[in-house]
Symmetry: D2
Subunit: 343 residues, 4 copies
């Protein structure tokens, strides 16, 4: 590829947008051609994100016609529902779409309706969408036009469990995912629960039953396990930190499963992956080691006393869990160095 | 009771010791008669805890003979093993002993050896010890001489689950306790993993298999369930905050179990407890609401999709999880207002 | 005093209101008879402050006529301007008023207009108001009806400097106050700059020129110095913590000033004060030692190389800087133990 | 330059060493050829810094003879005193030395002795050393062999004040620098004051009189002002965050000084600097906007009421305050793109 990928960011005024800007500005083979925000159109990017003071870049109106004429790729950092409204005309105009929202992640429109409380806005596109988790769908990503980038909690949960489910080392039943996320996971949301004195010295569960990331995790785990359906428990918590997610996952071991076999299955799946780090057996992962990186760090252990495999898996929710992952998918799609802009 | 309880604190130079001082200094019916520290004997308490600057109180050598002559109660904030060394002569001298260490919590000397790697130092005392969890053992606490104060993680796990196990609303198998603790839970330990830049923006599991609080939790859950033994998963995490623990607990529902029945069982068990707060159904607990209090706050939910009861339970690890609990036990033992000094 | 002081809290839905509730609920000689909030009238206090779950107390409309009939004291935790609207009829009804807002702190209506951009709403009351800083105005507080409780930054700045200015150990010129406050200092304000990810890992100055606490500090320093007017620099910063203020203060030494004389002047002024702690010479104050207490901790040093006295002074902004101070003033006014409810 | 700069890092087991690794690993024109640590020689770098798990790099003994044979540049992240022991033979072997310690920053051996309590270990080298602050000494850096990289607090203080002193807009007397640093500023030090529960919710001054960075700041300010000597007040504080420094600086305005002139002087000095960002007038700097970057962000204001210029200046203490600055100096010395590896 001779020329740089021309990238437009739609809905760039939140934390995922800010992270996209941070990463793309130093991406050697991509250039930002448009950054949209209806609310901030006309303003310099630095008015919303003062860390970019000095940068010559302004928010523009999300005019799909104009923007699709000048870009190769569009990354959508928009709320679900709205993402589809932009994806449809962008795809029609031949732009490759990398959607960070949840709109195209669930293959079942029924699940979409159950968890998002509205009919899916463009069911006809679902078959064209590829789930944007490169370490699981790299081949499909190379030739698709619509990427449904994996969610943050799902990325941290699916990556370590998929190879174990696929290898039948663990059972597809009774899976428990207990996650803690930093506060940027809530977006750049101005609401009482997210002000500093409410979050600091606070750790609490939320969405204990029926969190919107649940069906996405269940779907991809079932794919890996080769079963029609899985039902798991996913319990997210808010922790007093800015970024990152830790997911601790309990899996019932199948007969014959050992600590060594778990390690081998993970190594076999991910030993050559640039952005996955398998820890030595028994060492738990630590969010601080993936802070502001595109890595997923995975620890594994075996509890003989209850016959469970215990996984700890950490990512940066804004990088591997959102912006970094979208860029990794984009790099794959455009056939350039997969890690460009992400090291 | 006319006179104040004369209290000696053994091993007061850690965070539990500091919390004991904070609470006892404003206790209307207790007075501190000795505060021991081998390392700091002779120094004012304020040299170790500058917040007590101005307080006329010095650390003394842990001379049991001298101290037992002037105190009614001894609270031991010592490492396990060492606690027994003091408990034996104190009991012989007629002093009531409230031990914050783990020495007398496990009824099985075999478990003690398995988890603490040494023979129990005084097995003959185990039958005299009462488990110091007032809401579960109040009657026994009224007449015992040796109290094995419940650990911090165990307190947060046992309190919400015991009534559900006892009522056969949940199964005694497949219990998962996923906990996050503030850094004071590691004690006032000067070690690399606990310095600020290593803890801040870090959330990680530790002791994933075989944590020392595991057999204690299993023991007390089994007592509640009326079964000889339970095997559970207990996974502690370190979170970037000073105090408090959140325990999220997943329990397999027995047939007929409903959200309402769970709420009723908790209300029945604890509706009159001053230091337990049952939240409205489905609302998760939040550590910040128990910060620096002696309360345990319990949230409960029911996941019909996996047929699990999901509990969230929070305490302040230094108060209800250590110093406050010891004082509550002491108040009970001496027949005074149970909440004295703890409101 | 036989009966308890009957206290009404006006505008109790912010952090100062929460702290008032926390303190008054354990005050042995006061009882809360009304807690107003226009927005939350009719709701239980616990709906706004879940830590009070279980408390039988509801917000009511701020009906002065009704409330003044049942209370002895009113503590106003209202925005400036609005505070006066309530203070006027409460005073007329014979209620003692303790105002946490800034309405009655400045003796000059011109300064009020300069800094608050409106005419003072009740200039006729200014001569009746006493500045609510007990360690400076205890005698006046004993017999006044309207207390203008000192602000948080001013409390931390005025207490340590007043005795030095009064003793002519330091000059009334070229004073620099450099302060850092926790985020509760901004109130329970739901605004982008105060959400967790914006505050965490952030330290920044604000209100560098002309902060509203400046004229209050200047006024009281000038009173202490016995000069008609002082002009100082006061520079507040926001620090990533919940509570407390550190003020570092640089003062030009007068001839003959020494470290010892500074210590003596502070001891003489405050040696008998329950809520002021003078540190040993050269030891800087630390906010964590006053966290959730009513204390002001003061450190002092002398820099011979620039001939400056350097003060470090810390308080908890919500306790000594707001709610605790109001209660201390109230205790004085009603002739009861000054520290009741504050230990 | 065709070949990459071959870099050896001496004393790489602290936070500055970790930051050097982070930056150099992605530097396009430099390669790490040796990383020394006496304590960890033979161990993989990842054993000390788990975030580098997977990296094929081991600590080696600091054998100057061996290492000087294979490197072009040595960056010293060693304690003062020890740095000189390595600098001397490295220079003799023709290696360019970039010293992060304080050994060669002070031009006066008397000052060195006064503040470091020992005789300077190699006074003969002082005249060869250039102060490693690129925006002030770029030309000298291009041709020197020994760079005394500027300290963290000095960088944040000297950069914004030097142009104002040089332009005679402010007086060289009565300068006050009030700084707050994150805890990595104390190094990776395992000591009680630095454990999480002691730092969290704590803000405190330290080194109030005679901090070791004081003579360095005074020296460089005096150079800029063109006066033989300056005496200032520098007051550092520890704040509960990992990285960054905010310095708030008060300067007495010279006659004729205005807000506009201050802005112009800063723009003139730094308008073309890649790593300095002058904020719009009156907007204070915020540490979060330089977190993990090599930028210095400078805000300026004018207080007509006291006739002072008020500067706020923020840097990341580990990047622009240590590792990033060393690399920037190295880039200059080797004639490559100054910002390589730092964007």
């Amino acid at each position: 590829m001779d020329k740089k990928i021309r990238v437009a960011i739609f809905g760039a005024s939140g934390y995922a947008g800010e992270e996209l800007l941070r990463l793309l500005l130093r991406h050697p083979m991509a250039e930002i051609v448009a950054v949209t925000s209806r609310k901030n159109a006309g303003e310099p990017v630095s008015s919303v994100f003062p860390r970019f003071t000095g940068l010559k870049l302004h928010f523009v109106e999300p005019d799909v016609q104009k923007i699709s004429a000048i870009c190769d790729a569009a990354i959508l950092a928009l709320p679900h529902g709205l993402a589809t409204e932009y994806a449809v005309p962008l795809l029609e105009a031949g732009v490759k779409v990398f959607d960070i929202s949840a709109d195209f992640r669930l293959r079942s429109t029924a699940k979409y309706k159950e968890y998002y409380k509205v009919d899916h806005p463009a069911p006809q596109l679902l078959s064209r969408a590829v789930y944007g988790l490169p370490e699981r769908y790299r081949e499909e990503l190379k030739r698709c036009d619509l990427v449904a980038c994996a969610g943050c909690y799902p990325t941290s949960s699916i990556l370590p469990t998929a190879p174990l489910l696929a290898a039948k080392l663990v059972k597809p039943t009774n899976v428990v995912v207990c996650s803690c996320s930093g506060v940027t996971g809530a977006g750049r949301k101005v609401d009482l629960p997210y002000i500093f004195p409410e979050c600091n010295e606070s750790l609490k569960a939320y969405g204990v039953v029926g969190h919107r990331h649940l069906p996405e995790i269940e779907q991809e785990m079932a794919v890996a396990a080769g079963v029609p359906e899985m039902k798991i428990n996913f319990i997210p918590h808010l922790a007093p930190m800015n970024r990152c997610i830790n997911s601790t996952i309990l899996l019932d071991a199948e007969e014959g499963c050992t600590l060594e076999k778990v390690g081998e299955a993970l190594e076999k799946a991910y030993g050559n992956e640039e952005f996955i780090r398998i820890l030595p057996a028994k060492r738990p992962a630590d969010t601080k080691y993936v802070f502001m990186t595109n890595c997923c760090e995975i620890g594994y252990n075996f509890d003989a006393h209850t016959n469970k495999v215990i996984i700890t898996s950490v990512i940066d929710n804004l990088t591997k869990g959102a912006a970094g992952q979208a860029i990794q998918c984009m790099n794959i799609r455009f056939g350039i160095d997969e890690g460009a802009g992400l090291r």
